[in-house]
């Protein structure tokens, strides 16, 4: 086969895969968006429609779902709660995790392996198993719902940030560190002024992933906020969306809630990811 044809085929194949992946990733969200503008009876229509239509086939979106979601005080407060819990969990996980990661990645000491495995073992249990015990701890210590969520989420996010950052710290060239030490910088100064900016992409990524893990968590949040209802997070608030009558499931509203929560997150990440990375690397020492 001619080289040019081969290249063309590769290109077509490549584009095919790109389009397939693109559709796979975005379509369910489009479907959620579509459903959020439909009334319950439009949702039941067979066959389903790509855009909200009424029985005559005309374009007929409804804004009722969004209205009901925006006037739901629990949901609006939940957005704040989730942001708070997610933010603090992420910050703490990154800070504490990077301390440990620095030690594990760059310093020499005994018991490194033991510590790594110990930290990892925290995440090896499924959430359900530790729930009862955690709830007992929280009740005994009389912790507030928000604090209990933050600490519980750390069980899963802290090992994650520790391990990922350790891997990245290890990759960093030792020469930069050594040259800094020769210059008289303490280990901590080396860490703060040199290593942190260099691992900016890792920090941001790990932070985002840790944030979204806390953002998405349902089981613990449900249990811990059962009494303190003002501390409810988004997954719990959405699960409490109900119709007017028992058993009725307001699918359209749930979709509207999902859309309202997803879009700002994506937009914020897009805007800030570049900025944060740029900001952190600005302090790096070049050459």
């Amino acid at each position: 086969m001619k080289r040019a044809t081969k290249k063309k085929i590769k290109k077509v194949l490549f584009w095919f895969v790109v389009i397939f992946v693109f559709v796979y990733l975005i379509f369910p969200f489009y479907w959620a968006l579509n459903s959020s503008f439909k009334t319950e009876n439009q949702l039941m229509m067979t066959p389903a429609t790509f855009i909200p239509r009424d029985t005559q086939g005309n374009f007929a979106p409804t804004f009722d779902n969004y209205k009901s979601v925006f006037t739901n005080p629990t949901f609006l407060r939940a957005i704040l709660n989730s942001t708070l819990v997610g933010g603090i969990t992420t910050l703490l996980s990154l800070i504490i995790g990077s301390f440990s990661a620095f030690a594990l990645g760059k310093l020499r000491f005994k018991g490194k392996r033991l510590f790594l495995y110990l930290v990892l073992s925290m995440t090896m249990f499924p959430q359900v198993t530790v729930l009862a015990g955690l709830y007992a701890v929280i009740n005994t210590l009389n912790m507030s719902a928000t604090l209990s969520m933050i600490l519980s989420y750390m069980i899963f996010t802290l090992p994650f940030t520790t391990w990922v950052l350790t891997a990245f710290f290890k990759e960093l060239p030792v020469e930069i560190m050594q040259s800094a030490q020769v210059d008289g910088a303490t280990a901590f100064q080396t860490f703060y002024h040199i290593l942190m900016p260099l691992t900016a992409p890792a920090m941001v990524t790990t932070g985002l992933l840790a944030f979204i893990a806390a953002w998405n968590e349902y089981l613990f949040a449900l249990t811990f906020t059962s009494i303190e209802t003002q501390a409810r997070t988004i997954p719990v608030a959405i699960s409490l969306f109900t119709g007017q009558i028992a058993r009725q499931e307001p699918f359209g509203e749930i979709m509207a809630g999902a859309v309202i929560v997803t879009i700002p997150v994506v937009v914020l990440v897009l805007i800030f990811q570049k900025k944060i990375v740029a900001g952190l690397t600005a302090g790096a020492v070049k050459g």
């Binding site: 693109f22 479907w31 510590f115 995440t123 015990g133 007992a136 985002l208 349902y218 997803t262």
Partner: protein
């Protein structure tokens, strides 16, 4: 004789290291020790969840129940009069006796897990807790396929976004969307799309394209269940992989690629000689955590499958909440822990992640 300067530096490093590790240990002490300790202890008891019933220590009983298997030989059915072996009229295969008559019933009942042929003999494998072993099997299959697919797609996405491809901005945005959708809601969206009947998206498409009558039931058809679960999970997790791999890619200095281009290496060669080796540590960590998460999968199985198909973690949940068997569910938790531990050690050793 004082300490050498090098000895001092080492000592300083060590003490700094320990100081840096203290915050993690504090968090561990508060939130992890009691719950995890309780799981370990409870797994050796017959404790009932939310009950005033007295808890008794039962040793390894729970484990014996979960992991108890037995092998029995099945004899072919013979005609009572002639003594000849009975064969199935249609297929000609030998008809064997029912496994219920062969598997032990007291003191513990064993239920059939599966049968197989071994050198002309038919062996039936019986299990005391068939559902648990099936759940383990389901989880393992799910993990293998899910991690494989999400790594491939994640790698593809990360490479595309990291390159000079024209649509990379769009890809980056697209990648973030499944990641940002709340997990329990995403399971509900897929459940809605998978509806049997043309109110569900997939059936609607198949119907409109004339491929089927639009009544496929994805969640009850045993052939379609696992692929569906994998597709739903990969949708949510491929972006995770992509983000982790992307971070790793961004740390590879561009100069290496430029130098290699000058040398005339093709993109594929660059990938295998530069990208992959330098990506290994971040890829290793990503794989460890994604595999851990896949082995612990709960949300998608509980929402989409509930009691039709269990993963280890959803089986754990049902044992705890439905049957209130806290001892058993703690033992399940421990087994999950050990299984995950084994996987982690294998990964870590093969990738050499814990080497200095």
């Amino acid at each position: 004789m004082g300490k050498t300067p090098k000895g001092n530096i080492l000592k300083n490093e060590q003490s700094l290291a320990y100081k840096l590790l203290i915050p993690t240990l504090v968090v561990l002490a508060i939130v992890a020790i009691y719950p995890l300790g309780q799981v370990v202890v409870t797994s050796f008891t017959n404790r009932v969840f939310a009950s005033n019933q007295e808890t008794k220590f039962v040793g390894f009983d729970n484990y014996a129940r979960l992991l108890g298997v037995t092998f029995k030989v099945l004899e072919p059915k013979t005609d009572k009069n002639s003594g000849e072996i009975i064969k199935d009229e249609k297929t000609g295969a030998i008809v064997y006796e029912s496994s219920i008559s062969v598997l032990p019933r007291t003191p513990n009942r064993y239920k059939e897990l599966f049968q197989f042929n071994w050198f002309g003999k038919r062996i039936v494998v019986g299990a005391r807790d068939r559902e648990f072993l099936v759940a383990v099997g389901n989880t393992l299959v799910f993990t293998v396929f899910s991690v494989l697919l999400e790594t491939i797609i994640g790698l593809f996405l990360a490479l595309v976004v990291n390159s000079n491809f024209k649509g990379k901005g769009l890809m980056r945005t697209t990648m973030l969307i499944p990641w940002a959708v709340i997990t329990v809601v995403s399971a509900r969206i897929w459940e809605w799309m998978l509806q049997p009947g043309t109110a569900g998206f997939f059936n609607m498409i198949m119907f409109r394209l004339g491929l089927s009558d639009g009544q496929a039931s994805f969640l009850t058809n045993s052939a379609l269940q696992m692929p569906t679960m994998v597709a739903v999970d990969v949708w949510k997790t491929a972006p995770y992989m992509a983000l982790l791999i992307l971070a790793g890619l961004q740390m590879i200095p561009k100069e290496l690629y430029e130098a290699s281009e000058v040398d005339g290496a093709s993109k594929i060669r660059q990938f295998f000689q530069i990208t992959l080796p330098l990506l290994k540590p971040s890829l290793a960590v990503a794989l460890i955590f994604r595999t851990l998460d896949a082995l612990r999968v709960f949300d998608v199985f509980q929402v989409l499958m509930s009691s039709k198909m269990y993963s280890m973690a959803s089986y754990n949940y049902f044992q705890l909440i439905q049957n209130r068997n806290m001892g058993l569910s703690s033992a399940v938790g421990m087994i999950i822990f050990i299984l995950i531990g084994i996987f982690s050690i294998i990964y870590i050793r093969s990738f050499g992640v814990d080497q200095s």
